[in-house]
C-alpha cells in the first residue's frame, strides 16, 4: 500500500541507544518522592497541575459571579477582580495546561510509547518537577504577600504592571516574574529530556514515521517551547530589573498618578513583542499535544487507522514552524508600524490550512470506522466541535482589519477559551479516561464519565458561544463592571447571568471528575493490560501499571506503524506495534 504501513521485508532499524542501567530506588522516599521514574514524575506533575488548576477554576467562578451580579459581593472589589483575572489566566495557560501536557502526559507517554526504559536523563527530569513545584509555590505565595498577587492581566504589560495603579505592584509582580523564571528553568530541564529521548532512545524499529501522533505532538510542542520560552525568560528578567533596579528596558518617560518618574527611553512595545513571541507559540504548545493525543484517541476508539498519517505529521511540523512568524497578530492595534499587519495577517491565515487538514483527517478517520462511543471518544468528538468553532473565529481575529473592532472585546475572550482553553482541556480529560487504566490498573467509572462529559462539553459551549456576540456588540474585556453604556442593551445583563449559571454548573461537574479519579482508584473495574485493544507500545507492557524500567528484561521491537486497526485478514481488529509482520497483516 504505502510506506507508512508494514511490509514483511522491511528491515528493522537498530535503536540509537543501547539498553540502559537505571537507578533503582532504595526506599519509599526515593520511590515516590525524590523519584527518577518518568511515570512517577508524570503523576507528580499532573497532580500538582490539577491542584493549582483547581484554584484557577475557583477564580473563574468568582469572576463570573462578579460579571453576572456586579457589585453584589463585598469580597470582590475591583482590585480582587483584576487579581483573579490575572491569576486565572496565567495558571490556566502555564501552570495547568503546559505543565499537564508536557510534564504530565509527556513524561508518562514518551518513554512508554517509543519503547524506552525511561527518559534519558532521569535525574534532571526529577529536578524539573521539583523546580516546577517551587514555581507553583512562589506563585501561591503571591496570594499571601502584602498587596496580594499582581493584577496586571496575564499579559503583564508594562508600564502598568509595575506602576501603582495596578494591584500587586509591590510584591505580586515580583513573585509572578520570579515564578515564571523558575517555571522556565524547570521546563527546560524536562523539555531537553523529552526531545533527546524521542530522538535518541527509541527502541529498535521505532522509526520517526512509526511514532504515534501523540509523541509527534508532544515532541514538536517541546521543541517549540524550548525556542519560545527563552524570549519570555529574558523579558521577565528585564522587567524585574526595571522594577527592582530602576532600569528602563520597557519604561519610557512616564507619569505615575500625577508624579513624574525617573524612567526614560525604554519601549513598552518591546515587552509585547517578546511576550507574544513566546505567547503565540504557547497556544500551539498546548494545542499540538492535544492534536496528537486526540488523533490517537479517535483512531483507537474508531478502530481505524488515522487517516493521512504522514500529512498529519507534516501538518504538526508546519504549524509548529509557522507559529513562530505570526506573533504580532496580538498587536494589530498596539501602534506598531501598521504595515506589519499585511505580513502577519497573511502568515496567520496560512496556518489555517495545515490546521484545517488536521480537522479533515480526524473526521475522515471516523468515516467508515467502527465507532465505539467510549468516554475518551466522546471527549475527542467534543474536542472536534469545540476546536472547529474556536479555530474558525481565529480567522476573524487573524484577519487584521476584522480584528480592529473585535480586539479587546469579549469576542476575543470567547475565541481563546474555545480554542485553547476548553478544546485542549477536553483532550486532557479524554486522555485521562483513556490512560487511567494503564496508570492505575483500574477503569474510571463510565457513568460518572459520561455525566462529566455532557455537562462539560455542552456547558462550555453554552458559556462561550453566546459570548462572541457580546463581543460583536462591543462589550470590552477586563471590565470589572460595565456600568451604564448606551450601546449595551439590558438583555446583555441577562445573558451574563445565563453564562455564569453555565459556568458554575461546568465547575461543579469537575468535582464529579475529581471524585471519580479518587473513587476508581480503589473501586474501579480492573482494567487488564490493554482494555481498549490499542496498538501502541504503552499497552503492551509486561505489567500494568508498568514497573520501573517499563519492559522487563527485553525492550520491545517495533515492526509496524501505530495504526494497524481493522487490518483486512488480521485475526483481531488491531495489531500491536511490536507484533512481527508474519503473524500480522497480509498487506
Amino acid at each position: 500500500m504505502t510506506d507508512v504501513t508494514v511490509r514483511a521485508d522491511d528491515a528493522i532499524p537498530a535503536a540509537e541507544v543501547e539498553d540502559v542501567e537505571l537507578y533503582h530506588p532504595k526506599s519509599w522516599v526515593t520511590k515516590y518522592v525524590y523519584c527518577q521514574d518518568a511515570k512517577v514524575i508524570a503523576i507528580q506533575y499532573s497532580l500538582t497541575a490539577m491542584a493549582i488548576g483547581l484554584v484557577a477554576l475557583v477564580l473563574s467562578w468568582l469572576m463570573r459571579l462578579q460579571l453576572a451580579f456586579p457589585g453584589s459581593f463585598s469580597f470582590i472589589a475591583p482590585t480582587d477582580y483584576y487579581q483573579f483575572i490575572t491569576m486565572h489566566g496565567m495558571i490556566m495557560v502555564i501552570y495547568l495546561l503546559t505543565a499537564l501536557f508536557l510534564g504530565g502526559f509527556g513524561n508518562y507517554l514518551i518513554p512508554l510509547m517509543v519503547g524506552a526504559r525511561d527518559m534519558v536523563f532521569p535525574y534532571v527530569n526529577m529536578l524539573s518537577y521539583w523546580i516546577y513545584l517551587l514555581a507553583v509555590l512562589v506563585l501561591v505565595a503571591s496570594f499571601f504577600a502584602p498587596g496580594g498577587p499582581t493584577g496586571a492581566g496575564w499579559t503583564l504589560y508594562p508600564p502598568q504592571a509595575i506602576l501603582s495603579g495596578t494591584p500587586g505592584r509591590d510584591w505580586g509582580i515580583i513573585l509572578m516574574l520570579a515564578s515564571l523564571i523558575l517555571f522556565i528553568i524547570g521546563f527546560t530541564m524536562g523539555g531537553l529530556n523529552y526531545v533527546v529521548t524521542v530522538l535518541q532512545a527509541r527502541t529498535r524499529g521505532m522509526t520517526l514515521m512509526r511514532m504515534p501522533l501523540t509523541v509527534w505532538g508532544i515532541f514538536t510542542a517541546t521543541v517549540m517551547a524550548l525556542l519560545a520560552f527563552p524570549a519570555l525568560f529574558a523579558a521577565c528578567v528585564m522587567m524585574l530589573f526595571d522594577r527592582l533596579l530602576g532600569t528602563s528596558f520597557f519604561m519610557p518617560s512616564v507619569v505615575e498618578l500625577g508624579s513624574y518618574l525617573q524612567y526614560g527611553g525604554g519601549s513598552p512595545i518591546l515587552w509585547q513583542h517578546l511576550f507574544w513571541f513566546f505567547g503565540h507559540p504557547e497556544v500551539y504548545i498546548v494545542a499540538l499535544p492535544a492534536f496528537g493525543i486526540v488523533s490517537d484517541l479517535i483512531s483507537t476508539h474508531a478502530r481505524k487507522n488515522i487517516f493521512g498519517y504522514r500529512m498529519m505529521v507534516w501538518a504538526i511540523v508546519a504549524i509548529g514552524a509557522l507559529s513562530f512568524v505570526v506573533w504580532a497578530h496580538h498587536m494589530y492595534v498596539s501602534g506598531m508600524d501598521p504595515n506589519f499587519g499585511f505580513f502577519f495577517a497573511t502568515t496567520t491565515l496560512i496556518i489555517a490550512v495545515p490546521t484545517a487538514i488536521k480537522v479533515y483527517n480526524w473526521v475522515l478517520t471516523l468515516w467508515r470506522g467502527d465507532i465505539h462511543l467510549t468516554v475518551p471518544m466522546l471527549f475527542a468528538l467534543g474536542f472536534i466541535v469545540t476546536f472547529v468553532n474556536g479555530g474558525l473565529t481565529g480567522l476573524f481575529l487573524g484577519n487584521v482589519v476584522v480584528d480592529v473592532p473585535l480586539s479587546a472585546t469579549m469576542f476575543v475572550v470567547a475565541h481563546f477559551h474555545m480554542v485553547m482553553g476548553v478544546a485542549p482541556l477536553l483532550v486532557i480529560f479524554g486522555g485521562i479516561y483513556h490512560w487511567y487504566p494503564k496508570i492505575t490498573g483500574r477503569m474510571l467509572n463510565d457513568r460518572l464519565g459520561k455525566f462529566h462529559f455532557w455537562i462539560t462539553f455542552l456547558g462550555a459551549y453554552a458559556i462561550f458561544f453566546p459570548m462572541h456576540y457580546l463581543g460583536l456588540l462591543g462589550v470590552p474585556r477586563r471590565y470589572y463592571e460595565l456600568g451604564e453604556m448606551a450601546f449595551i442593551p439590558p438583555s446583555a445583563a441577562t445573558l451574563n447571568i445565563f453564562i455564569t449559571a453555565a459556568a458554575l454548573t461546568v465547575g461543579a461537574a469537575q468535582l464529579v471528575f475529581f471524585f471519580n479519579l479518587a473513587w476508581s482508584l480503589f473501586r474501579g473495574k480492573l482494567a487488564g493490560s490493554n482494555p481498549w485493544h490499542a496498538t501502541t507500545l504503552e499497552w503492551q507492557t509486561p505489567q500494568t501499571p508498568p514497573a520501573h524500567g517499563n519492559w522487563g528484561k527485553e525492550l520491545p521491537i517495533v515492526y509496524r506503524w501505530a495504526y494497524d486497526y481493522s487490518v483486512p485478514g488480521a485475526a483481531q481488529d488491531f495489531v500491536p506495534q511490536n507484533q512481527p509482520a508474519a503473524t500480522g497483516a497480509a498487506a
Binding site: K304, R368, D370, A408
Partner: protein
C-alpha cells in the same frame, strides 16, 4: 442515536442563535462599513465550514457507530482527497484574506485632507487637543506634566500655545470630514475605542500612534478604554459628539487654548 442528534442540534442552535440574537454590531457611524462587510463574509465562510464539518461528523457517528459485526475500513491515505481539500481550504482562506488586506490598505493610508487632533490618555481619563489657528500641534513630553499642565505640553514651544485643550469634557468632531487621530499616553497603555466607529488604537507610552476615520452621522458616542490600564480601567469613559458644521464651529469658539489655560499662573 442521541449523540449524533445532539451534534446536529448544536449546529442548528448555533445558526438560529446567530440570526435571532439581539446582540449585534452597533449601528455604524464611520466610513468603516467595509470592516463590517469583511466580518459578514467571514461569518458566511466560517459558518458553512462549521456546519459542514460538524454535520459530517454527526453523520459518521450515526452511520458508523459500533454494531455487531462491523469492521472498519483500512485506508491509510488518499493523496488526491487530501490535496483537494487543502486546495479548497486555501481558496476559502484567500476569499477572506483578500478583502481583508484590501480594506487594511485603506486603513493604513490616511487621506491627505484629514485634519489632525490628539487624544491623550492618563489613568483614568481622556483629554483632547486640537491645533489652533496656526494648524500645528506643539511638542509634548511626560516630563512637563504638572497640575497646571496635565497634558505635558512643552511650555517653551510657541506652536503649542494656541492649541485647544479639552480636559474632562466631551470631544466634538464635524460630520463628514476625515480625521487623523494622534494618540498619546502619559502613563500606561490605553486604547481609544468608540464601538460605533469600529476603528480603535492603543495609546502606547513613549510613542504617538495614529489611525483615521470619517464620522458619518451626527450624535453622541461613548468612548471606552479598551487597553487594560489598572483598576480604573472600566471608569475611563468619555464622549465624542459628532456635530454638523455650524454646531461644531460654535463649540470650537468656546474652547480655551493652552496659553489661556496657563496664563493666570504665568503672571
Amino acid at each position: 442515536m442521541v449523540i449524533a442528534l445532539i451534534f446536529a442540534l448544536i449546529v442548528i442552535f448555533s445558526i438560529l442563535f446567530h440570526f435571532l440574537s439581539p446582540w449585534w454590531f452597533t449601528p455604524i457611524a464611520s466610513n468603516w462599513r467595509y470592516i463590517d462587510d469583511t466580518i459578514i463574509i467571514t461569518f458566511w465562510i466560517t459558518g458553512v465550514v462549521f456546519t459542514a464539518v460538524v454535520l459530517f461528523m454527526s453523520y459518521c457517528v450515526y452511520r458508523f457507530r459500533h454494531q455487531e459485526g462491523r469492521q472498519a475500513a483500512y485506508e491509510p491515505e488518499n493523496r488526491k482527497l487530501e490535496w483537494w481539500l487543502a486546495i479548497v481550504t486555501a481558496f476559502g482562506v484567500a476569499a477572506m484574506l483578500t478583502p481583508g488586506l484590501f480594506v487594511w490598505s485603506q486603513f493604513v493610508t490616511v487621506p491627505r485632507e484629514a485634519t489632525e487632533f490628539e487624544v491623550v490618555g492618563q489613568q483614568w481619563q481622556w483629554s483632547f487637543r486640537l491645533p489652533g489657528k496656526e494648524g500645528q500641534l506643539g511638542t509634548s513630553d511626560a516630563r512637563f506634566v504638572s497640575p497646571d499642565n496635565p497634558l505635558g505640553l512643552n511650555p517653551d514651544d510657541p506652536s503649542g500655545q494656541d492649541n485647544i485643550v479639552i480636559i474632562g469634557d466631551d470631544l466634538h468632531l464635524p460630520v463628514g470630514k476625515p480625521v487623523k487621530v494622534l494618540l498619546r499616553s502619559i502613563d500606561v497603555v490605553h486604547d481609544f475605542y468608540v464601538p460605533e466607529f469600529r476603528a480603535k488604537m492603543d495609546l502606547m507610552p513613549g510613542l504617538v500612534t495614529h489611525f483615521w476615520f470619517t464620522p458619518t452621522r451626527t450624535g453622541t458616542f461613548e468612548i471606552l478604554c479598551a487597553g487594560f490600564c489598572g483598576i480604573g480601567h472600566p471608569q475611563m469613559r468619555g464622549n465624542v459628539v459628532v456635530d454638523n458644521e455650524a454646531d461644531y464651529q460654535a463649540w470650537l469658539q468656546k474652547q480655551q487654548t493652552f496659553a489661556q489655560l496657563s496664563a493666570p499662573k504665568k503672571q
